[in-house]
Structures are given as C-alpha cells and as structure tokens.
Amino acid sequence: MTIETITCDEALDLLEPFVDGELPFAQAEPLRSHLQGCRACAGELALAERIRRELRALPQPDCPPEVIERVVRSGRGEVVPFPARRRSGWRVRIAAAAAVLALAVGGGSLFFNLQQRPDRPDPTQVAQATRDARLALAYLDKVTRKAGLGVRDEVLEKRLVIPAARSVSRSLGEFQAPADETRKELR
C-alpha cells in the first residue's frame, strides 16, 4: 500500500479537522506520514492540540435565566425587546469618586472630632473653665477701665482742659506754671 504524499500547505489545511477527529481515514494517513517527517507541521499540530485542551479546561458559565426565558419567548414567536442599557459614563464615575472621597474625608474628620471630644463633660473642669472665663472678662474690664482713665488724663486733660486753661490764663496775663503743675491744680 502506498501512502499519498502531501505538501505543508495541504497538511495545515487538514490540521483542524484532524484535531477535531473529523478527518476521514484516507486523508488522515497522508497527513500522519507528512507530520512524521515535517517538524514545522508537527509543531503546528502540537499548538492546535494545546489550544483545544486549554479551551476545554475553561469554566463554562451557566446561561442566565432571563436569556433562557428570552429564547423560549422568541421561540413562541413573541417579540422581546432588549432592555435599555444603563450608561455608566465618565460622569457617573466622577460622581462615584467624589462621593467616596467625601465619605472618606467626612468620616475621617468626624472620627477625629469624636476622638478629641470627651464623651461627658467633667463638672469640675466645666466649673473651673467658667471661673477662668469670668476672670478673663474681669481682666478685660480692669484693663479697659484703666485705659479709660488714661484716655481721660491723656486726651481730655492734656489736649482740652490744660490748653483751655492756658489760653484763659494768657489772656489774663497770669499763666506761668508748667503743664504738670497746672494739671495737678486742675485735679
């Protein structure tokens, strides 16, 4: 029995049905003979078999029930429209990112504030703070009152009362005393 010889191109055309087990014996034998003598075509066969193995190893997802239902309804001749696809463009992504950022910052800030804030005010601490606050206001009053006296001495007396007294005295020809002495007299 003689085996028909084939070229590499012919061998490559036959590889797919050969791997699938669909090649008739009359064509398979010349191919086998060619593959024994041709390393390039034998490599192609090894690659095709590997692809086939790995494809079979992939998980096969179940068909979603709504697709099955749609197929069944289509089979009954019903017109089944496709549901409107929800767009999730860049705006949605930006909004989601902004919301996540806001939650992160807000949550962090809230956590930080809660950490800093005592759960219950200590009555002693509050009483002391009340005394300190009153003391601060009293200090404010004391210093401003003192400044008020200063305003009276500096502004009213020096710039109004004493000059007025001088001018009156000059007009009467009596003014000789220095300002300080005049001030004492006015008091």
Binding site: R87, A95, R134, A136, Y139, T144, K146, A147, G150, E154
Partner: protein, 191 residues
C-alpha cells in the same frame, strides 16, 4: 442626558458634604481673630502669673452650664471660640525688655488688618485694644497692656464678639482677686 441631573446632584451633594465637614474640622489657628501667642512669644511662659486657655468645646460646655443662672454670660460664651489670657508680673522687673515685644505684637496685628480701637500711653502705661472684623462682624479682640511696676497683660478673644456686652459682663463681675493677682486653679500661677 438621562444621567446628567443625578450625576450633578451627586457631585453637588459630595461637595456640600465636604464643605460641611471641612468647616466642622476647621482649626482654631485658621480662625480670623486668632492671635498666635506661642509664635509671638510675648512673655516667658514659665514666668506667667496667670494663663488662661479656653477653647471652643470647653466654652460651649461653660455656656450650657451657665444658661439658667446667667443667660447673658452664657450667650456670650456660646458665641466664642477661644479665650486666651496671659499676665506677666512686672513688679521689680525691668519692663524695658517687654516693651519691644508689645510693639512687635502691635505691628503684627496691624499687618494682619486688625483695627486699633484704643491706644493709650499714660505715665509709662501703654494699652492697646485691637478689633478684627470679618464679614461685617467683629471676629476677634486683642488687648495688650503694660504697666511698669505692676503687670503686662495680653487678652485674645476669638468668635462672635459684642464689646458692649463683654464690658457689661466685666463690670458686673467685680472680682476682688483682681486687686491682687488671682490664684485660680485653672489659671496657671507658678509657685
């Protein structure tokens, strides 16, 4: 177009939330009216006769605690974010070293836009009162005073301030301790 409104609303809500939380977390040092006493280093901190540092949460507690017994004092406290007082004794101390520090603080206040309300120099005593306005309201009050042979005082009050109300409250206090330097527990007085 269908998604534009919800998206814009989400962004707006997120921004509002951010602004709200950021406002809540605003630091005291960022408040208008705040005087950085530590930075200005007016008086040696270990020689202070009186030191008062009251911040927002504590002042809120004071406001809540005094609401019934003294409503006016309580309402003033509720509007404040900080009260700081430092009193440095000048009895037997040469005040020449303090004078330039007061001058430096005055310069700092004027550079930051504070308005001079009272400025009195009388017989060696110097008193300065500055107010800071923000949004048409007084947001800060700073008083600097130096009385050679007696004491130097700095007071900084931050928050919603009504000077007339503060003055009225101060007048009603009549604390006898002020005739002599007080020794309040919270107020620091070195041994």
């Amino acid at each position: 177009m269908m998604t534009r409104r919800p998206v814009l609303s989400s962004i707006l809500a997120a921004l509002l939330f951010l602004a709200a939380t950021a406002g809540g977390a605003q630091r005291l040092t960022d408040q208008p009216g705040y005087l950085p006493l530590e930075q200005l280093n007016l008086f040696p901190s270990d020689e202070l006769e009186v030191e008062i540092n009251l911040d927002g949460p504590l002042l809120n507690m004071v406001a809540a605690a005094t609401k019934k017994e003294d409503p006016e004092f309580s309402s003033v406290m509720a509007g404040l974010k900080s009260i700081k007082v430092q009193v440095f004794p000048l009895k037997g101390v040469d005040s020449a070293g303090i004078k330039p520090r007061i001058g430096r603080a005055v310069h700092w206040l004027e550079e930051k836009g504070w308005k001079s309300t009272i400025r009195v120099k009388d017989k060696g005593d110097e008193t300065y009162i500055y107010l800071l306005e923000s949004g048409g309201k007084i947001a800060g009050l700073t008083l600097l005073s130096m009385s050679p042979g007696d004491e130097a005082v700095v007071i900084n009050i931050v928050g919603r301030i009504d000077p007339a109300q503060l003055g009225r409250l101060g007048q009603n206090l009549h604390l006898p301790q002020l005739q002599k330097v007080p020794t309040q527990g919270g107020a620091k007085k070195p041994e």
